[in-house]
Point group: C2
DNA sequence: TTGGCGATTTGCGCTGGCGCAAACTCATGA
DNA sequence: TCATGAGTTTGCGCCAGCGCAAATCGCCAA
């Protein structure tokens, strides 16, 4: 652990307001892991032995339904916690978490949580604040699914990805991990066919550039118009 | 407050594992309120000055979208907390909470939360456990919206209502508060027309009995078959 | 360089469920 | 008792988007 960059970790929002000495005590009890692309960080229904902080990479969180459908719940970016089932009174993970690229994570044993919560109130408060955001996000998703058409939902999804994993290139803002049409479909509750058609149409209009497992947003502003439902359809 | 039935309150799951003396200290700082039918308990975007425990009645939590749509996030039953924005690091309420019938609630000032969290770890843990369930529920909703057809979603919604607010009658299980077709539509992301058609069809098949703002489920088991997508359509 | 496979594109037909509109039915208050 | 209006039912037409299938593209490995 000594090899990790403490100052970088200290800047993460989960550790905001945590004293340096406390930070050391927290991080000191973690082990660091590498997860190869497409390997699971944790799996649905499994005993929640650990919780994690993503340091590098991107992780896709997917829920499988009994009837074989897969729905992507969210993508996790560096600095975010995941697998905090124990902090929410659950003993198993509610979903699969799969590395979208090679990742580096910190892992703590779940049984440490009560101690952390009691001894490091800032850390605990920050964690629950993140939970609040996720609950918010989930409700937003429900509302989008309930009130928006597919095109708007896909546009919203792309903008969300741009915001949390966008990397500037000379062509536009690239989503910085491999993402297929199927993945986007699973985020928005549609089919890869429809997503493909939409991306093709957007590409014709110069809104995006896309290729195999790769999407670059050229004109975020116009995409936002579509997302908000205020765009005249061609 | 002295007039409220402490032993009844003590049995609520939020207070599980809380010592009697602590319970008194918690409840002693609440004030009890009556909310008339159709009146708000709290409102979206408003400063989250208080959090609440529903003692009697039913509360509908609704989010309004900028474009005028309304989506019902969930119904709250007696014994549940609501408006706990502060515990999740937010300063405003994320939705409107409206009394579906005359209600009785306990209200605490939001600024008490950090103290409660620090001094009554069981209470805090129970609260976050409830938050965990809600996050779970929200994700389930997303998955339902993404993978199921309207008929299944409405069936699921009815079963959820039966579970949390069902009252046995000689005809079947009655949903114990006034609920309109429009309300059900807002829970499931469809229109009141479609809900009306579904309920009529179900009534023809003897699955439910329904009337003005009133639904009774006669055969929960067959409804479950529809919800699970394993029912031959007539 | 050549296969082979996974990802993507595209055409076509069909249908679930929405939008609109009109009729109907109660419950409530005057 | 009757008028009123909210809640509900129902008919009809339409279209967004799904399901299926086939063709194409591009990356990687041999």
């Amino acid at each position: 652990m000594a090899s990790l960059d403490r100052s970088l970790i200290a800047g993460l929002s989960v550790f905001e307001g945590v004293a340096a000495a406390d930070l050391d005590r927290i991080v000191g009890q973690a082990r660091s892991l590498r997860i190869a692309k497409d390997q699971p960080v944790f799996e649905q229904e499994q005993e929640a032995h650990s919780f994690f902080l993503l340091l590098d990479g991107h992780v896709r969180v997917v829920k499988s339904t009994p009837d074989g459908h897969e729905v992507t719940v969210r993508y996790i970016s560096p600095g975010e916690l995941m697998g905090i089932a124990h902090a929410l009174g659950r003993t198993t993970y509610p979903a699969n978490a799969i590395a979208a690229v090679d990742c580096v994570v910190l892992a703590w044993a779940s049984h440490l949580w009560p101690t952390f919560a009691a001894n490091f109130p800032s850390f605990s408060a920050n964690t629950y604040k993140a939970v609040g955001s996720r609950l918010q996000d989930a409700h937003t998703r429900v509302i989008e699914m309930a009130t928006e058409q597919v095109e708007q939902r896909v546009a919203h999804a792309m903008l969300k990805l741009v915001k949390q994993a966008g990397r500037k290139t000379e062509e536009g803002i690239l989503i910085d991990f491999p993402i297929s049409r199927q993945d986007i479909a699973e985020m928005t509750g549609t089919t890869l066919h429809t997503v493909s058609r939409l991306l093709s149409a957007w590409e014709d209009q110069g809104l995006v550039k896309s290729g195999r497992q790769r999407v670059t947003v050229v004109e975020p502003h116009r995409l936002l118009l579509i997302a908000e439902g205020r765009a005249e359809k061609s």
